[in-house]
Symmetry: C2
Subunit: 197 residues, 2 copies
DNA sequence: TAACTTTGCAAGCAATTATTTACTTATGGA
DNA sequence: TCCATAAGTAAATAATTGCTTGCAAAGTTA
C-alpha cells in the first residue's frame, strides 16, 4: 500500500485519463479504468478529485495554463509578426502532438457531455487561440507587412481549422500521421493569404 | 398503438438521434431516450435496427449517399474549377448547417467509441472530401488557372479545416453562429492561395 | 509515544446502459 | 375470412456507471 500525496496522484490520474483516451477512446474513461491505469483502487480516485468531471476540468485548466499562456506570450512578443505567427502555429501543433489524448478530449468530450462548465472552458481555449492569432495578423497589417484587405476574423477561423484538421487526422490514423514539417507546410500556405498582391 | 413500416421507423429513429445530439448532446443518445423521442417503446427500436451501433452506422451511410455523392458529382463536372470549388465548399457548409446533429456525430462519436467500423466510415467520408477537393484544384492548375506551386494535398488539409471550424463554432454557440456568407467568406480566403502571383 | 490527518482499500450503492424475453395485436395478401 | 408476418409492448436481463461507506494503516506533528 504505497502512499503518495494528492498533488502527485492528481497528476497521475490526469495522465491516465489522457493515455486511456488515446489508446482506447473516450468511452473507456471510466473511474474503474482510470484506477486500474494508475494502479490504485477506484475509491481512491475520489480522495483526490471530488468527481470525474473535476478531472476533465482540471485537464482543461492545464491546457489553459500551459498552452494558452505560452501562446499568449508568443503573440505579444515584439519580434516580427511573421516569426511570431510561425512560432505560434508550431507551438500549437507541437503541443497537440505531444499531448495526444488532449485533442480528442477537447473536441469530443464537451460535445458529448454538453456540460455548460466544460463548454465554457472549451470556448475560452478556442477563442483565446483565435483572438491571439488576430493580434499577430493585425500587428502585421498595421506594420504594413501584410495585405490590409484580409478579413482578420475570417482568417482566424480558417487558421483554427489547422489544429482541428490535425486532430481529425490523428484520430483517423492514430500513430502513423505524417507530422513532418506539418506546421511549416501549413504556415507557407496561409502566409500566401496575408501577402500583399 | 399506431404501426408503421420498418422503413419509416428507421428514418424516424435516425432523425431522433440527430435531434437528441443537437439538443442535449451525444451522452443523451440512449435507446431509452431515442424511444421516447420517436414515441415508441425501447424494445421496438430493436425491431428496426439490430443494435444501437447500427443506427449510427446507418446515419453515416446517409452522409455518404447524400453529401459525399453530391460532392463527387460537383467535383467531376466540367464547369470552371473556380465555380466548382465554390459550389463544392458551399454544398458542404449548407449540409452541415442543415443537418445539425451530424457534425457532432461524425467528429465526436468515432473518437468516443473508438470503434473500427465507425472509424473506417469516418475515414472514408473525410478522405473522399479531401480527394475530391484535390481533383478540383489539380484541374485548375492543369488548365493554367491556378498557381502550380501550390502543394495540393496540403491545401486539401487546410481546406478540410473549414467544415471542422464550422463544426466547433456550432458546438460552442449552438444557435447563434454567424453563418451568413460563411462559405463565400472562406472561399475568398482560400482562393488567394491558389492565385498566380 | 500519542494524537491526528491523509491515503488507501473492499464492498456496496442506486441509477443507467443496451439488449432479450415472452407475449399481444395490427396489417396485408391468399 | 383466414393467417402468417411485422410491429408493438412491459418487464427482466446482466453489465457498467459514478460515487459513498466503513474501516485500516501509513505519515506527520506534537
Amino acid at each position: 500500500m504505497e502512499r503518495k500525496s494528492t498533488n502527485i496522484r492528481q497528476e497521475e490520474i490526469k495522465a491516465a485519463v489522457l493515455s486511456i483516451i488515446f489508446r482506447d477512446g473516450l468511452k473507456k474513461v471510466s473511474t474503474k479504468n482510470i484506477a486500474k491505469e494508475v494502479g490504485i483502487s477506484e475509491g481512491s480516485i475520489f480522495r483526490h478529485f471530488k468527481s470525474k468531471k473535476e478531472i476533465i476540468l482540471a485537464i482543461m485548466d492545464d491546457v489553459i495554463n500551459d498552452l494558452i499562456e505560452d501562446l499568449r506570450r508568443t503573440s505579444l512578443e515584439n519580434s516580427p509578426p511573421a516569426d511570431r505567427l510561425y512560432n505560434y502555429l508550431c507551438k500549437t501543433v507541437t503541443y497537440l502532438i505531444e499531448n495526444k489524448g488532449i485533442t480528442i478530449l477537447l473536441f469530443s468530450e464537451a460535445s458529448y457531455e454538453n456540460d455548460n462548465e466544460m463548454i465554457t472552458k472549451l470556448n475560452y481555449i478556442f477563442n483565446s487561440q483565435k483572438q491571439l492569432a488576430v493580434k499577430i495578423i493585425s500587428d502585421g497589417i498595421a506594420m504594413g507587412l501584410w495585405d490590409e484587405a484580409v478579413p482578420v476574423t475570417d482568417f482566424a477561423t480558417l487558421y483554427m481549422g489547422i489544429p482541428l484538421s490535425l486532430n481529425i487526422e490523428m484520430v483517423l490514423s492514430r500513430e502513423k500521421f505524417e507530422r513532418n514539417n506539418f506546421c511549416k507546410r501549413m504556415y507557407d500556405l496561409i502566409l500566401k493569404i496575408l501577402k500583399k498582391s
